[in-house]
C-alpha cells in the first residue's frame, strides 16, 4: 500500500515549560523535540500495515522550518521510505491553514491511506487530519483506536464517551490515530544509517492566509500545595469530615 503519514515536531511532553519573552509562545531553549506522540503511533501503524502487506511505500510529510527535517529523518530511521519537507518559517496555530498546505501536496500522491495523529501535543487541537480528509473529499475516521486493512477495505474502532463504534471504510481514506493502534519502535542503528541515504525532498509550503494566531501563552495557575490528612484507616474520619465541610462534595 502507498501510505502517507503527516508528522509534527513538538517538544517532549515531560518538559517543564517557561514562557518566551514575547509572552505569546513557550521558550524553546533547552527543550528536547521529537515527533509528536500520536503522529509517532501513526508512523508505526503505517510501517506495520506495509510490513503485513509485504510491500508498499511509507512517505512522511512535515510542514515547518528546517528543524522538522530531524523528525523526518527519525521517521525514516524507523523505516519510512522517503520524506517530504514543506518549508515554512514557522508552524502556524491555524490548523486549517496547515491542512490546506498538506492537502495541496497530498492530493496528487495517489495514497491508499493518509495517517495523522489524533492531535498534536503542542496544539492539543485535533484539527489537521480530519480537515485534510474533508478538503480531499475522503472518508475519515477520527481518533481510531484500532485499525486493520484487509482485501482493500478498512476497519477501525473509535471510542465515544461510554461506548465504541466499529467502523468500515473504503480506500483511499484518512485516519487519525489514537493510542492503542501501535507502540512506536525505536530506530535501530541500521535504520539510522539507512535513513541518511533515503530521499528527503524540501519545497515551500503553500501556506495561505493564517487566521488563528497565539496572542498570549501562560502557565496555568499552580494548585495549592497538597496536604496529607493522615496515615491509614485512622485518617478516614478526618477525610470524610473535610469532604463534607470543606470540599462540600459529600
Amino acid at each position: 500500500m502507498k501510505i502517507a503519514v503527516c508528522i509534527k515536531r513538538t517538544p517532549d511532553s515531560e518538559s517543564r515549560f517557561r514562557i518566551a519573552a514575547s509572552g505569546a509562545a513557550i521558550d524553546e531553549t533547552g527543550l528536547k523535540f521529537d515527533i509528536d506522540d500520536f503522529a509517532s503511533y501513526a508512523v508505526e501503524a503505517a510501517l506495520q500495515l506495509n510490513e503485513k502487506a509485504g510491500g508498499g511505500e511509507t512517505v512522511v510529510y512535515a510542514l515547518g522550518p528546517d528543524t522538522v527535517q530531524e523528525s523526518l529523518r527519525k521517521a525514516m530511521s524507523m523505516g519510512a521510505d522517503r520524506a517530504v519537507h514543506l518549508k515554512a518559517d514557522a508552524v502556524p496555530a491555524d490548523g486549517l491553514a496547515i491542512a490546506k498546505a498538506l492537502a495541496a501536496e497530498l492530493a496528487s500522491g495517489g495514497y491508499d491511506l493518509i495517517l495523522f495523529g489524533k492531535h498534536a501535543f503542542d496544539s492539543s487541537a485535533g484539527v489537521v487530519g480530519t480537515a485534510v480528509a474533508e478538503l480531499l473529499g475522503l472518508p475519515c475516521v477520527t481518533a481510531a483506536s484500532e485499525l486493520k486493512i484487509e482485501n482493500g477495505a478498512g476497519m477501525a474502532r473509535r471510542e465515544l464517551e461510554g461506548s465504541a463504534e466499529m467502523l468500515t471504510f473504503p480506500l483511499p481514506a484518512v485516519i487519525t490515530i489514537d493510542e492503542g493502534v501501535a507502540r512506536p519502535r525505536y530506530p535501530s542503528l541500521k535504520g539510522i544509517m539507512a535513513a541518511k541515504k533515503k530521499p528527503l525532498e524540501s519545497k515551500p509550503a503553500q501556506l495561505g492566509a493564517v487566521r488563528v494566531t497565539a496572542q498570549k501563552a501562560e502557565l496555568p495557575p499552580e494548585r495549592p500545595a497538597g496536604r496529607i490528612v493522615g496515615e491509614g484507616v485512622t485518617a478516614i474520619p478526618e477525610l470524610v469530615k473535610l469532604l463534607q465541610n470543606e470540599a462540600k462534595v459529600l
Binding site: 501535543f121 496555568p220 462534595v249
Partner: protein, 329 residues
C-alpha cells in the same frame, strides 16, 4: 450584534450535557456581541424534536431540527453536511460545538466546509469587533494559550465542563430542516459496543474514582467500583499502566493520551501521579489521593492525602462514605 449557531449533541434520543453547555457558551458569545440570537441545530433519530424546548430553556432562540433514521448512530458525514449547510444559510458570527468525541470529529469537517478558522477545546470566549479571542489549554494542559481568530465566521469547540449550563429561558421557535446527505464516500458503522451500564461517563461525572497499579490486580478494581457506588453517581477511571495491562478498557484511561477530566472530586487510589496522568486531571476541583508512598508525586496536587495501603484504606473509606450519605437520599 451577531447570531451564533450551536450544535446540540444528542445521543440515544437524549440531549447530552455538553449540548446544554455549548448552548450556554453560544448564549454568552451572542450576548458579548451586543445581544444576537442563538440558533441551535438538533440532529437525531425521529422523535428528537421533543427535546427542542429544553434547548430553549438554556438560551436558544431558534431550534432547527433535522430528523432521520440514519442519525440513530453518529452519521458523521451527513451531520457535518447538515451543520455546514445551516451555517451557510444564516450569517453567523460563530459555530459552537462541544469538544466531545462527536464534536472533535465534526469541528474540523465543518471548518473546512465553511473555510472558517477553528479553535478546539476552548475554555473561554470573548468577542471584539472583527476578532474572536479564546482561551485554549495546549501542551496537554501545561500552557494556556490565548488565540485570536480573524474572519467573519469561526468554528469554536468548547471543553466539556468549562461552561456551566445555565437556564436562560427563551421561547424557542422550532423549525424542521432537511438533513443533508453526505457527498463523499462514508465510513459505515457496523456495530456500537456499549460500555458498562449504570455509570455516568467520565466527562459528565461530578465524581471520579480512579485506580492505578497500586491496586495490584484487576480484581481489586472491585474496591474502586464499591467506592464509586457508595458515592452514588461516580465514574471509574484508570491510569495507562492499568489500561496497558488490560485491567481496564483503554477508554477509561485518564491523562495526556487518555481522557481529560475536571470533576468536582477526583479520588486517585494507588496512582503515582506521573506528569502524563496529572495532565488529564489536575484541573479537578478537589483531589484526594491514597498511596502507600508518602513521597508519591500525586500528594503534591492532592488537597487531601492519605498515606496507606489501598487494600485496607479503600474498604474503610467506602464504609464511611456510605454512612455519611445515609439518609441523604
Amino acid at each position: 450584534m451577531a447570531n451564533v449557531l450551536v450544535f446540540a449533541e444528542a445521543r440515544g434520543g437524549e440531549l447530552r450535557k455538553i449540548a446544554l453547555e455549548a448552548v450556554t457558551a453560544a448564549r454568552q458569545l451572542a450576548d458579548a456581541t451586543g445581544g444576537g440570537d442563538v440558533h441551535a441545530l438538533l440532529v437525531g433519530a425521529p422523535g428528537i424534536a421533543a427535546k427542542a424546548t429544553q434547548l430553549g430553556t438554556y438560551g436558544a432562540d431558534v431550534v432547527f431540527v433535522a430528523e432521520g433514521a440514519e442519525f440513530a448512530t453518529f452519521a458523521r458525514e451527513s451531520v457535518a453536511a447538515t451543520l455546514a449547510e445551516r451555517a451557510k444559510a444564516g450569517s453567523y458570527r460563530a459555530v459552537v460545538i462541544g469538544f466531545s468525541a462527536q464534536g472533535r470529529d465534526l469541528g474540523p469537517r465543518v471548518a473546512a466546509k465553511l473555510d472558517a478558522p477553528i479553535a478546539s477545546d476552548v475554555t473561554e470566549i470573548a468577542a471584539s469587533g472583527d476578532t474572536l479571542t479564546v482561551k485554549h489549554p495546549g501542551y496537554a494542559n501545561k500552557v494556556v494559550l490565548t488565540l485570536v481568530l480573524s474572519g467573519p465566521m469561526a468554528v469554536i469547540s468548547v471543553r466539556p465542563s468549562a461552561f456551566t449550563a445555565k437556564e436562560n429561558a427563551k421561547a424557542a421557535r422550532v423549525e424542521v430542516v432537511a438533513a443533508v446527505p453526505a457527498s463523499t464516500p462514508v465510513v459505515t458503522i457496523t456495530e456500537v459496543k456499549e460500555g458498562a451500564k449504570g455509570r455516568p461517563d467520565l466527562g459528565d461525572a461530578p465524581i471520579i474514582i480512579s485506580g492505578g497499579r497500586g491496586l495490584k490486580a484487576a480484581e481489586n478494581f472491585k474496591l474502586v467500583e464499591d467506592l464509586a457506588d457508595a458515592f452514588g453517581n461516580a465514574a471509574v477511571g484508570a491510569t495507562r499502566a492499568v489500561t496497558d495491562d488490560g485491567w481496564r478498557p483503554h477508554s477509561d484511561q485518564i491523562g495526556q493520551t487518555g481522557r481529560q477530566v475536571s470533576p468536582q472530586l477526583y479520588v486517585a487510589v494507588g496512582i503515582s501521579g506521573a506528569i502524563q496522568h496529572l495532565a488529564g486531571m489536575r484541573t479537578s476541583k478537589t483531589i484526594v489521593a491514597i498511596n502507600k508512598d508518602k513521597e508519591a508525586p500525586i500528594f503534591k496536587v492532592a488537597d487531601y492525602g492519605i498515606v496507606g495501603d489501598v487494600l485496607e484504606v479503600l474498604p474503610a473509606f467506602t464504609a464511611a462514605v456510605r454512612e455519611a450519605r445515609k439518609g441523604q437520599g
